[in-house]
Amino acid sequence: MLRKILISLLILMTAGLAVLTVHAQETNPDFPSDNDVNTIAKQLYCPVCPNTPLDVCETQACKDWRAQIKSQLAAGWTEEEIIDYFVEQYGERVLAEPRRSGFTSLVWLLPVIAALLGVVIVWQILSTWRTAHAEAAVPLTTEQQISQEILAQIENELREID
């Protein structure tokens, strides 16, 4: 029983929201304008031409698709509904921005991982270089002494030759 009430409430709320949005849109006398259409078309790619956003595509097919968006907006469809409709009809390739779920999420994830990994690697390398510097500095004093001993010896031998 409780479930039924909840569901009906939910339906009522959604319906109410839909009415509200439609109402809000209807207050603008020009709705749907070309700009409203372009806002949505911008997020879509032409389903048939290579790499062309729908809002700038010039083919007749794209003009028809834009007209379709316009009539859908006029019929009260929301932005998400229209985009979902296009994905369902023509596949995921119409989305300008790849989805963040499933296999496609890899396109977003990998560069982030790569950049983080890059930072870690740079940090590691710098640390090793700093250690190398510190280590190189320590034995230097003893090496210098040895070299002075050798120098003294050489000077002695040179004197003997003279």
Partner: protein, 691 residues
């Protein structure tokens, strides 16, 4: 007749290219100078031979010899003689020949100049450079030959393509050609391919020297870097010009109100530029500190492979569809060659890994070395993000069978923060000292530009307050510019005080005495200007679209566009022009007349939308004619973009060229070696440590 000579020259060039590769390698291996000498002559001769071949194609394009399939494809009677000549790089066959020709030109110039100085490296420089050149000539000869003719077998439905007359076939010569793709008939597209190709092919010189250094085992020194530094800069600036011209072309011709669309073809050009820029910087670490020797090798191999990859993507169209790959033998041939180049070079590098000992020592995380390393990492991360986004549709199609699009939102979101970090680094890294930077000194050096930039960008950002991100973006740009200008000011001031020079003389001498450094700063200023264009594109752009009756106006911001008339007339080059006359008003006052057009190319059945643009220092008003009433021309649909800051992009390109000229200009021969080398502090004693 001339085409036969061209074909003959092409085949000869291929034979000589293969011979030069083999002979120089053999001569180098067996220490026989006569073989190397002979290979060098063969390599030099390749260029004049290819020049004959290129001339034959250009002449056929100009004289409209439609018996050649290539001419029939890209040239036509309606095209102006100038356009016919540029059709050399308007299609696949011509552009691959053009590529090979430019590369052989680079090789020839290097061989004529550098012969005595790097005698040991030379055999392998010739071998590596000529291997690539021979590959490209081979592709032209066997796969995509511009001298191919069309033949018709009696009764056959389709034409046969062959160089020589097949038995029983009649030559087919069409009345007219289909002509150059209308989109390519623009000054940007006329200058863009040659400059881009010069950039791509130019990288063969540092690459060949690097591989030669690896083969001879002379890679521990940095002779190969010194010998090729200027070549790298030349290749890099041509690639940069190519990128800017490509952007300008897109802006003027493609009609979507922007200059960079993150299209696969654009990305293919950007990637070698990114790694090439990283390489230009990392070689400084080797020259000054003897560091990053292996890394330089990795970067030049990557840059060169990506340049080949760029040609592969643009010429095969593999990214837009997997099926384009095997349409001709070009795809597999290229793919194989890139794989060979990349893997072969890397395995050679690993075989020589131990010879590339560097002196890696560092005193502080806050040092020029650390900044360089971070900068290299950022360039590589951006390259990876661009590469991944470019090839991902292909991977997705292969793995899941779903075609997807990776559009500008991905590239902007992923590379945006990384580019911002790079720009910031560009401002502060030049202030860092080698080895160790004292925090207090750094604070002293940057507080003036920092404070000034906060104030300036606050005011500037307020003028553009459309998006909150405008403030940090403009701050970044202002800060970097001020930090760079501060460097100039400090240098000039020191000269004025120390030597009593006048400010102008001090400024000139400052740059003249230290061309690399100050040329580099000027290039950085150019980069910041281009960044401004991108900031405008990302945050400040606005657009509107509307259908107007004659006399009506469309409002956007402080501008309004009035539709005055629409006219139709036949234009040149076989196009029908539909041109709108509109008046642009700013706050009610007439500023200018704009004529957005729609050119329809009848033969190709292709429309081209040409914008009407009003440019000011603050930004462009960019109007497009996107629709019209067919009968009576009483109403038209216009789209208007306001593109703030976009003019900076083109100016930035010019400033980059200026900076490169200063940095690459050789003052005089004897001073060439006079750049200082900073050895590790204990270098003179370090040999004892190992004893």
């Amino acid at each position: 007749m001339l085409t036969d000579v061209g074909l003959l020259a092409l085949v000869l060039a291929f034979v000589l290219g293969v011979y030069a590769t083999l002979a120089s390698y053999y001569g180098g291996r067996t220490n026989q100078d006569t073989w190397v000498e002979s290979a060098r002559n063969a390599a030099i001769l390749t260029f004049p031979l290819l020049t004959i071949s290129v001339f034959a194609v250009v002449y056929a394009l100009y004289a409209l010899d439609f018996s050649l399939a290539y001419v029939a494809d890209v040239s036509s009677r309606a095209m102006s003689p100038f356009l016919r000549v540029t059709a050399l790089w308007g299609g696949q066959q011509g552009s691959v020949l053009f590529w090979a020709w430019l590369m052989s030109g680079f090789v020839m110039v290097v061989l004529l100049r550098k012969w005595e100085r790097d005698r040991e490296l030379m055999p392998y420089v010739i071998a590596v450079a000529m291997l690539t050149t021979a590959f490209f000539i081979g592709v032209v000869v066997f796969i995509t030959n511009p001298f191919t003719r069309m033949w018709h077998f009696p009764g056959a439905a389709e034409l046969t393509m062959a160089i020589f007359q097949p038995a029983g076939a009649m030559p087919y010569i069409p009345e007219d050609g289909s002509g150059l793709n209308p989109l390519l008939r623009h000054f940007g597209m006329i200058g863009h391919p040659p400059t881009t190709y010069l950039g791509f092919t130019g990288f063969v010189i540092p690459y060949a020297f690097a591989i030669a250094a690896l083969i001879t085992g002379k890679s521990s020194g940095d002779e190969w870097i010194r010998a090729t530094r200027r070549w790298t800069l030349v290749a890099w600036i041509f690639l940069s010009i190519g990128l800017v011209l490509g952007g300008r072309w897109a802006y003027d011709v493609l009609g979507w109100g922007g200059f960079w669309g993150w299209d696969p073809v654009e990305n293919a050009m950007l990637m070698p530029w990114l790694t090439g820029t990283a390489f230009l910087h990392s070689v400084m670490m080797t020259e000054k500190r003897g560091m990053l020797k292996k890394w330089n090798m990795v970067l030049i191999i990557l840059t060169y492979s990506l340049a080949l990859f760029g040609t592969f993507i643009t010429r095969t169209g593999v990214i837009s569809s997997v099926h384009a790959f095997s349409k001709t033998a070009l795809g597999p041939a290229f793919f194989g060659f890139i794989g060979l180049t990349f893997l072969g070079s890397l395995s050679l590098l690993f075989a020589r890994w131990d010879t590339l000992k560097s002196d890696h020592q560092l005193e502080s995380f806050l040092s020029r070395e650390a900044a360089f390393l971070l900068q290299n990492m950022l360039f590589l991360a951006i390259t990876f993000a661009v590469f991944w986004g470019t090839v991902f549709p292909l991977i997705s199609e292969l793995v899941t069978g779903t075609k997807i699009t990776v559009g500008p939102p991905y590239f902007k979101r992923v590379t945006g923060p990384l580019f911002a970090a790079l720009v910031l680094l560009m401002g502060i890294a030049p202030l860092f000292a080698w080895r160790k930077q004292a925090v207090r000194k750094l604070g002293k050096a940057i507080w003036v530009p920092f404070a000034a930039s906060l104030v300036l960008s606050g005011v500037w950002g307020y003028a553009h307050r459309m998006h909150p991100a405008v403030y940090p973006a403009l701050w970044l740009v202002t800060f970097v510019v001020l930090a760079i200008l501060m460097e100039f000011w400090k240098g000039v001031r020191a000269r004025i005080r120390g030597r009593g020079e006048s400010p102008w003389v001090a400024f000139q001498k400052l740059i003249g005495r230290n061309r690399r450094r100050y040329g580099g700063y000027i290039i950085h200023l150019g980069v910041v200007m281009i960044a401004l264009g991108f900031i405008g594109d990302a945050y400040l752009k606005s657009e509107t679209q509307g259908t107007l009756q004659l006399g009506e106006s469309l409002q956007i911001g402080e501008y309004s566009l009035r539709f005055d008339s629409l006219d139709y007339y036949p234009g040149s080059d076989g196009r029908e022009v539909l041109e709108a006359t509109t008046s642009l008003f700013k706050n009610g006052e007439l500023v200018t007349q704009l004529n957005p057009r729609r050119d329809y190319f009848v033969v190709q059945q292709q429309p081209v939308t040409i914008p009407g643009v009003y440019s000011t220092a603050a930004g462009d008003v960019y109007a497009l004619l996107v629709g019209w009433e067919e009968i009576g021309f009483q109403s038209s649909t216009f789209k208007i973009y306001i593109n703030p800051l976009i003019g900076w992009t083109w100016l930035g390109g010019l400033v980059m060229i200026l900076g490169t000229l200063i940095a690459a200009w050789s003052p005089s021969r004897d001073r060439e070696g006079a750049t200082y080398t900073l050895k590790p502090r204990q270098a003179s004693l370090s040999y004892l440590a190992g004893d």
